[in-house]
């Protein structure tokens, strides 16, 4: 009896593993689909996530870090937690080995709706992944002209914890994107900005006019980022963020990611601040 099984992962090969930070607990995995059919069936947009599957360990929901324009591959930046069964197992994998992916799941950043606007991207920590996907996409020649000014404010705890260092350097050299990279605390080699993301955001104070802001970060950062954004004049409907919850199925059944009457996996993870204000359990 054949029937489509939404719980079944597609096999992918680990093509490249990049260690992102000094603590070596953040790695970016570039995965290639093993069949063209799978590659073309997996159509995703910026902001969506997928379930990474390791047979014998389990599954974990991870935001997609690659751009939808990166053909045939998927990238995920995964933090290993000591208590995380799947993330630990994944970090023990080598290039060339096979894991599974199912998805894409969830909604995406509303890029269509944002066309013709200025974009402000605010992010902290390793929540930057889906925004990296977005930036890669926006900076593509086929897309850049659809949007006006792009400002990125991205922070990490320390210089060593910044993700995608090569790309950050590349973007900083471009004149069609303003990059503001900050760290909570610098070290000897750091000549850049220091300060928490909400503070730096206030210093940079991007204009809210004809602008959307995409915010993604740890709960504590979100909590302190919303008031300054509102003060700068961003309407809640134009503050777009991404929620994180424990997830098991990714398809709105298992109940774990339920916030109010929404399921983060299905109705989210992307919500406007206006939407979140209607969900008491999700109030930042």
């Amino acid at each position: 009896m054949t029937q489509s099984n939404p719980y079944l992962p597609l096999p992918v090969t680990i093509e490249k593993i990049t260690i992102e930070n000094e603590a070596k607990d953040l790695k970016t995995f570039r995965l290639r689909f093993q069949s063209d059919e799978d590659a073309s069936s997996f159509k995703y947009e910026c902001g969506q996530f997928a379930m990474l599957s390791i047979a014998g360990a389990g599954e974990s929901p991870i935001g997609i870090a690659s751009s939808p324009l990166d053909e045939g591959i998927l990238e995920f930046t995964v933090k290993r937690y000591p208590t995380g069964v799947v993330t630990t197992a994944l970090h023990n994998f080598d290039e060339g080995e096979t894991i599974g992916v199912r998805g894409p799941y969830g909604n995406a950043y509303p890029l269509e709706q944002m066309e013709g606007s200025n974009l402000v991207i605010v992010s902290g920590g390793f929540a930057f992944t889906t925004l990296r996907s977005t930036i890669r996409y926006l900076l593509d020649d086929s897309q850049r002209s659809r949007f006006k000014k792009i400002t990125v404010i991205y922070g990490a705890r320390s210089p060593g914890e910044l993700l995608y260092k090569d790309e950050l350097a590349e973007w900083e050299n471009r004149d069609d994107i303003e990059m503001v990279v900050t760290v909570d605390k610098g070290d000897e080699g750091w000549s850049g900005r220091e300060g928490f993301v909400p503070t730096v955001l206030q210093e940079v104070s991007p204009s809210a006019e004809n602008a959307y802001v995409l915010v993604c970060g740890p709960p504590i950062m979100l909590k302190f980022t919303m008031p300054p954004l509102l003060e700068m004049g961003f309407p809640p409907s134009r503050i777009i963020t991404s929620l994180e919850r424990k997830m098991t199925c990714g398809i709105g059944k298992c109940g774990r990611c339920n916030v109010g009457s929404k399921y983060v996996c299905k109705d989210g993870p992307v919500f406007t601040y206006e939407q979140l204000q209607q969900i008491p359990e999700a109030v930042l």
């Binding site: 009896m1 389990g58 298992c254 109010g260």
Partner: protein, 335 residues
């Protein structure tokens, strides 16, 4: 055939006949209470029972089920079991719960093949209630002792005989298949049926639930949740016995190269349910977990699929170790 009657003395014969073409489960006495069990030739049927200790949802959504398996890193769909099953003796509340679960697992966007397979291959014969339990409140949540939602056939206990009424095509087919064993019901039978159901209904104490969903949405931060949470011990009794609770987890079991991915029942009452690997837990007190259970059943599902996910079976009321009574919570909220 749409309706038929059988003497209780001949019920065994009927179920044996059913077992010839399908596996057939029915109520059987156990050391503790009555359970729904696959019938064999020597099973002792027992028709006097409040309800099964466990909800028959577990036939469709088992406590644990292999959803993918394989060797090495490749996982494949597990073969779905085939063959017809007839479940006899579900109480109307439990049958109604199946219709609610359909809204989750048969959702077009992501159809659950395992649930669908079971649902397709199973004919549900409900048995109307003559003697509801003190904790029952089906009539307050849209059901009733003789309600047929979710069932293919409903049977009424008329004392010496059972009256069957088919409610779906699947039900009609079942009655037609066994029509030789069934008699035509009379007008007296109809009167008797109406009476037993009315009598049963009269024994149920109504719970006030007017405007519940609306009121609940305004009570998210109400102190009532922490009051419940203080008493709640955080076990999974209420959710595991509930015929509509359907939250689950997925875990892998591995031995050598053999891997099974297993879906297991899970419960929002456990702190681990929402605990993230980072250590962050968005629901970090028993009070907010208790709130989730009530909100999910009486508010969120109303928003999402237009249904209250409670059928009034009373299992959680009876078995809560600290006697947290959902009826009291609803009345307090609706007041």
């Amino acid at each position: 055939m749409k309706r038929g009657k059988i003497d209780k003395a001949d019920l065994g014969k009927l179920l044996v006949a059913v077992s010839e073409t399908a596996q057939c489960a029915g109520p059987v006495a156990d050391r503790v209470g009555v359970k729904l069990e696959m019938l064999s030739a020597d099973s002792a049927l027992e028709l006097a029972y409040d309800n099964f200790a466990l909800s028959p949802k577990l036939w469709f959504f088992p406590r644990s089920e292999v959803i993918a398996s394989g060797t090495g890193d490749a996982l494949e769909t597990t073969l779905l079991p085939e063959g017809e099953t007839v479940l006899f003796g579900l109480r109307p509340c439990d049958a109604a719960a199946l219709e609610l679960l359909d809204k989750i697992f048969l959702d077009e966007a992501y159809l659950d093949p395992y649930y669908k397979n079971r649902r397709q291959n199973t004919t549900v014969v409900a048995l109307a209630c003559n003697e509801p339990d003190a904790a029952c409140f089906c009539t307050s949540v849209g059901g009733g002792p003789g309600a047929g939602a979710g069932a293919d056939v409903i049977a009424f206990d008329l004392g010496d005989a059972l009256l069957f009424e088919a409610l779906t095509d699947k039900g009609k087919a079942l009655l037609t298949q066994h029509e030789k064993l069934l008699n035509a019901p009379t007008g007296d039978d109809d009167a008797a049926k109406t009476k037993v159901i009315a009598d049963a209904g009269a024994k149920l104490k109504p719970v006030k639930t007017d405007g519940l969903a609306d009121k609940l949405s305004g009570l998210f931060d109400a102190p009532v949740w922490e009051v419940i949470g203080e008493r709640c011990v955080g076990c999974g009794t209420c959710t595991y016995l509930c015929p509509t609770c359907h939250c689950f987890g997925i875990y892998d079991e591995k031995a050598g190269e053999q891997v099974q991915r297993i879906r297991t029942q899970d419960a929002c009452m456990f702190p681990q349910f929402t605990l993230e690997a980072s250590g962050h837990n968005p629901r970090d007190t028993q009070g907010v977990r208790a709130r989730q259970r009530v909100m999910h059943k009486f508010s969120y599902t109303v928003d999402n699929v237009g249904e209250t996910f409670c059928v009034g079976c009373g299992r959680c009321v009876v078995h809560c170790p600290v006697n947290i009574d959902i009826r009291e919570i609803l009345e307090e909220v609706a007041a």
